[in-house]
Symmetry: C2
């Protein structure tokens, strides 16, 4: 009997819900505002109403396997509670999973949103057909996800994959977490804006300085300038790329996975920042060199050129394919692969 | 029926072989010189002769499950060939596993020595009773091992766990791999000697300068000075600790494992360098802070003190317990947990 599941991407601004069949076909998608200011119960009410309507409409499709919900925050997988979520402050220490299960009378799985996005890209996106992969999601912050053997790696308490807080520069820029020099302080949308303002403050580039004078400066504005060839804006993205390259080199050296995917809003600037990623990888990862047999990423020119290539087992670093839908598809996938 | 296996630690200087029972009891241990200069075939001959004698002696113990061999280098797990080993140059691209199996007529498993050491500590050492752990081995270089679900994580081509080549300082000291700022350039015995010579060159400490004037300066000499309270020598080990702390923070943030073990010869200086490790961890890992519920490592004082603790699931960073036997026991364990 055919079956489907429902994925939810619970963002601080948008609440997106999709019904997806087992082949990854989209049955229906709805987008609501997340009315955070009205409180947790209101948001859960909106979500459950919308899900019930989707279930009603898709009764003919087959059986509902369950509901996966991607949440921006740290999830306690055992209790199904949100431990910490800056965007959803009143969700902490509340039995969200159990409450939603009670209302909808079907299985519910809460998952970190970056893990959901990684699962989505592994199922239907850049890493489809692979069982092992890692993903970095560059948004307001930098999230990470790791899939091993087709399943999300959670670590002992659901706090694994915090790749955004790997140190890039020990004495570097201050990060929101209180530490200095985290990847998030160089490769998030927030960091792009900060670095653009710093560059403008140093008198780098008239166009960037004009843009930075606006209170509304966004990473998109910096990206648009970079696309137009603005040198100061391009330098900001080169810093994004070199920070990503340093951390990706560490991940390649630590995990030896076949693929690492870069997604999230900032990854729109992939063409501008990715050359700096590959430059760092060629310099910093023997593993990358040894798993790039045809030298198509230029590895043979790198510092590790003496390492012999390893047959056809290539390390691929690439951008995500599913855009903002990765987390939605990944959330839907959760209910399909959950252990009974 | 009781059973045992044989572990081999094939170092560039010593060839150590042990028969170990399934409870981890040592039945017998022999140590030979590794006669690298006489060539691969001679070394394999010595090894096989010694193993056959051990098997002969232990006939009454039970059945032989197989032989595990820890090798300093990159192993192709599929073919059982040494891909690259600086200490055993003529072993590359030679079907070592198959050749040894043919001679001994029992199952043989080749494994990277740092992976073997991690497996040994996970079986009988600091991480006994745990199924997930990572280990850093500080020797001439810095090796890494990762155990997940009781098994060694190899990555797609046996090149995972190269924690020694994670970047600590992007523009830092030159590493043997050709890159700059790798952990190995700060936390290996080689690095201790280099940093001590640098410090002596800068006029730091009369005792260290005298020691550095000798061509024989070893990390042990620097350690002895540090133990005696020599300030310049202690600063060298503080640098070892801070580099380890930066990389351990990244590993904690990426893996969220219950335990990370530091072993190898340089770890004798644990009491001197470990305070710097914990200082970095407190600053650089929210995950560490959230998984140290009693604050016994002083986490509550750190930058991430706002992160709520996570029940009893503590992150432990500790030194190895088995010393140079970790790799030997781990190698013996390989044949016990191998898939049929």
């Amino acid at each position: 009997m055919p079956a489907y599941s429902i994925g939810v991407d619970l963002g601080g601004t948008n609440l997106r819900i999709a019904a997806v069949d087992e082949q990854g076909g989209l049955l229906e998608k709805v987008t609501l505002d997340t009315k955070v200011s009205l409180g947790r119960d209101h948001v859960i009410g909106d979500m459950c109403d919308a899900i019930q309507q989707l279930v009603q409409k898709n009764q003919g499709v087959g059986s509902l396997l369950g509901i996966g919900i991607g949440v921006p925050g740290i999830i306690d997988m055992e209790t199904g509670m949100v431990r910490e979520s800056p965007n959803l402050p009143d969700w902490a220490d509340y039995p969200a999973r159990d409450e939603i299960e009670k209302r909808l009378k079907t299985r519910v799985i809460l998952e970190n949103d970056a893990n959901s996005a990684a699962l989505g890209e592994c199922w239907l996106g850049a890493a489809r057909n692979l069982k092992d992969m890692a993903m970095l999601t560059l948004g307001t912050g930098v999230g990470g996800g790791l899939i091993m053997g087709g399943r999300i790696w959670h670590g002992m308490s659901g706090m694994a994959n915090e790749f955004g807080h790997i140190t890039v520069e020990p004495a570097g820029a201050l990060c929101g977490c209180g530490n200095r020099g985290c990847l998030e302080a160089y490769a998030s949308a927030t960091a792009v804006v900060r670095m653009a303002r710093e560059a403008a403050g140093n008198g780098s580039g008239a166009a960037l300085s004009r843009a930075a004078a606006s209170a509304e400066l966004s990473s998109k504005t910096v990206y648009d300038l970079a696309i137009q060839g603005d040198d100061a804006a391009r330098k900001v993205f080169a810093r994004v790329g070199s920070a990503l390259g340093i951390v990706l080199s560490s991940l390649v050296n630590a995990f030896n996975l076949p693929m690492y995917v870069v997604g999230g809003g900032v990854s729109s600037a992939w063409e501008i920042f990715s050359p700096a990623i590959f430059q760092e990888l060629r310099q910093r990862s023997m593993v990358y060199a040894a798993t790039d047999p045809d030298g198509s990423n230029g590895t043979r020119l790198g510092a590790s050129a003496h390492v012999k290539p390893l047959g056809p087992r290539k390390t691929i670093i690439t951008r995500a394919l599913l855009g903002s839908d990765a987390g939605l598809y990944g959330a839907a996938r959760l209910a399909m692969i959950a252990e009974k």
